[in-house]
């Protein structure tokens, strides 16, 4: 097939340029045969100098805190005052920390609830805007706006609109006979979670749409034409051509959405403040509370390490599962 030839050539050819310093041609600054050592030393010097600021920032504000966090998690570090090395005691106490365990369960549940709707809605929207018809550019922009505006501003708006009897949510839903006009959304944890899930699905579908649309537009049109000549229906073309060729985009959009949900903080902090009780405390929020309200930095760091491991696992599993047998 013509298309597979074209794409098959790309990875090998493209990556080859990234080889060793001595390779003449594509990548190095001086592109012709030369006294190798002087040139490559100069290349190394200039290259390192150019990339040093980026490396320094990442080192100081990302990699160091990561290592530092692991170290702190092995101590009883309070926000102020002396600390002792206490081994794995923080991790052991996590097993009995009901708020933290509850927050993990709640966050997993929340992630499970929103992921599929975000993906399905995002996919449907991507199908709708991928063709270049009059108006699509405008539709894309408008559908994407909630994501651009950001969940923080929208959460503040939700706070006002979820007020019993005065908020727009009750006003509209009571006329549709879905809720009463005095439904207090943030007083019951089920209602609060429902409201936040709806908000997040509305907010995040646009991003999935854009990511999937970008992938869809990279699929050669001939594939669809030949499928049509073969008499394939729209649905079977979608299943046999779009979905397999879209694996990477699907993996990426799912990873972004799942990891994003698992790291949720803003909407819960702003709309429910974890309530009622601690029923809507997300993992990041329980870390935040432990560190800054309880000032138990050691314990909070242990929670963070667990969070990093869980997020890493989620990413790895999804990546492996969705991409593994793709190529």
């Amino acid at each position: 097939m013509a298309a597979s030839e074209a794409t098959g050539a790309a990875p090998g050819g493209g990556r080859a340029g990234g080889g060793r310093a001595g390779r003449p041609g594509r990548a190095g600054w001086p592109g012709r045969p030369r006294p190798r050592s002087a040139q490559s030393r100069r290349n190394t010097r200039v290259g390192l100098a150019l990339t040093a600021p980026a490396l320094a920032l990442v080192g100081v504000f990302a990699l160091f805190p990561l290592g530092f966090g692991v170290y702190i998690s092995l101590t009883n570090w309070p926000l102020v005052g002396p600390y002792h090395f206490i081994g794995l005691a923080n991790y052991q106490s996590l097993i009995h920390n009901s708020v933290f365990l509850q927050s993990i369960v709640f966050t997993l549940k929340y992630t499970a609830i929103v992921t599929i709707p975000i993906f399905v809605v995002g996919y449907a929207l991507a199908v709708f805007v991928r063709a270049n018809r009059p108006g699509t550019t405008l539709f894309r922009t408008l559908i994407f706006l909630p994501y651009i505006v950001g969940l923080v501003a929208e959460s503040f708006m939700a706070v006002v609109e979820l007020q019993p009897s005065s908020g727009t949510a009750d006003f509209v839903l009571s006329r549709l006979r879905i809720a009463s006009d005095t439904t207090a959304w943030t007083v019951r944890s089920g209602l609060a979670t429902t409201a936040i899930c709806v908000l997040v699905i509305w907010f995040a579908s646009g991003l999935t749409m854009m990511l999937l649309m970008a992938g869809m537009q990279g699929i050669p049109a001939e594939l669809y034409e030949s499928a049509r000549v073969d008499g394939a229906s729209w649905w079977s073309a979608e299943r046999r051509i779009t979905v397999p060729l879209l694996r990477r985009s699907i993996a990426l959009s799912l990873i972004i959405s799942v990891v994003g949900s698992f790291l949720a903080f803003n909407q819960f902090f702003i709309i429910t403040d974890g309530g009622p009780g601690t029923s809507t405390v997300s993992v990041v929020m329980s870390i935040y509370d432990t560190a800054f309200a309880d000032t138990d930095v050691g314990l909070a760091s242990a929670m963070s390490v667990v969070l990093i491991i869980v997020v890493g696992l989620i990413t790895f599993i999804q990546f492996h599962y969705l991409q593994g047998d793709g190529d």
């Binding site: 504000f61 702190i72 009059p134 706070v159």
Partner: protein
């Protein structure tokens, strides 16, 4: 407007899109625009536009409605909606919010300073690093690139506590510069990735010609290459600006001094009534103010935003 102009039926091969420059690279569209091509197309087109307007409304009307609500007096925001209070519109919420007392202007300025600083720093550092990774093959470049991208795998939410202590030691807590450095770091993976790709796409001959002319490394970057990679720079800066403007958790953790709060943190104080009684009218007005720069910047520069998404989507 584009949507109105071409109301005629479209044959199988659709025209190149006006705004998506990626389409040029891809060569053709994903799918013939005229699936319903032929005689029934005009009807299909009308149906498509009607559906598009309806779907767009789902995403935009809530935002517009909040703008409208923010123009209602506070009393109308907190009482059951009725026909009477729909007609009374006023800038009172905005006047109160912006009239010294709550000092929200200072918070807007803080947000703006941090967002612009983050955008400039991200663009600058990403440009240099992209230049290095893209055009200089050097020993260890793979390792350095891997380390920079590693920041992408570290959720900043998970290093917040150690970072708080570190910023404290560095005297960068309660510092707009400290906040901007933190934001810049976590925008670098995307920025460096985009910039490296931009430099990799620069035609080899141009780089060679500059070298033959004896231009120095920096001179080549600033005079010859800069115009070629400017779209990439715009992408990196745009992402960083939007990230910084809408970020909440970091600012909430690292800023404890009222006068240094960014807008979202200040609004969370309005919400909980730290500045006196809770005023939902003010909260709505503040949220609308927070929304405006995002929309303006995005609508003006959206082709650069889409570029970034695509380079991310294709990287796999």
């Amino acid at each position: 407007m584009a949507s109105v102009r071409s109301g005629r039926p479209q044959p199988g091969a659709p025209p190149a899109p006006a705004s998506d420059d990626r389409a040029r690279a891809a060569g053709r569209r994903a799918r013939p625009a005229g699936r319903a091509a032929g005689r029934g197309d005009r009807g299909g087109l009308v149906l498509y536009i009607v559906a598009g307007v309806a779907i767009s409304a789902v995403f935009v009307v809530p935002l517009l409605w909040e703008v409208f609500r923010s123009l209602q007096p506070e009393s109308a925001v907190t009482t059951p909606p009725s026909g009477a209070n729909l007609s009374h519109l006023t800038f009172a919420n905005y006047r109160t919010l912006l009239s010294g007392q709550d000092d929200i202007i200072r918070n807007v300025m803080n947000s703006l300073i941090v967002a612009v600083l983050t955008a400039v720093l991200t663009a600058l550092v990403s440009m240099l690093a992209g230049y290095g990774f893209g055009l200089f093959r050097f020993r260890g470049s793979g390792l350095v690139f891997g380390l920079v991208l590693l920041a992408f795998m570290i959720p900043f939410q998970a290093v917040l506590t150690p970072l708080f202590l570190e910023l404290h030691f560095l005297r960068l807590l309660n510092s707009l510069i400290g906040l901007a450095l933190f934001y810049t770091t976590f925008n670098l993976p995307v920025g460096v990735y985009v910039m490296r790709n931009s430099f990799l796409q620069v035609p080899r001959e141009i780089v060679d010609a500059a070298r033959v002319d004896g231009a120095s490394v920096m001179r080549t970057l600033l005079t010859v290459l800069r115009p070629l990679v400017l779209p990439g720079i715009a992408t990196a800066a745009l992402y960083a600006f939007l990230f910084s403007w809408t970020e909440f958790l970091g600012a909430l953790s690292f800023m404890t001094n009222d006068s240094l709060f960014t807008l979202p943190v200040a609004l969370s104080n309005v919400e909980t009534g730290t500045y006196g009684a809770v005023n939902y009218g003010l909260l709505l007005a503040g949220a609308v103010i927070a929304m405006i720069p995002c929309i303006v910047v995005y609508v003006a520069l959206q082709r650069y935003y889409v570029r970034g998404l695509i380079s991310g989507a294709l990287k796999g």
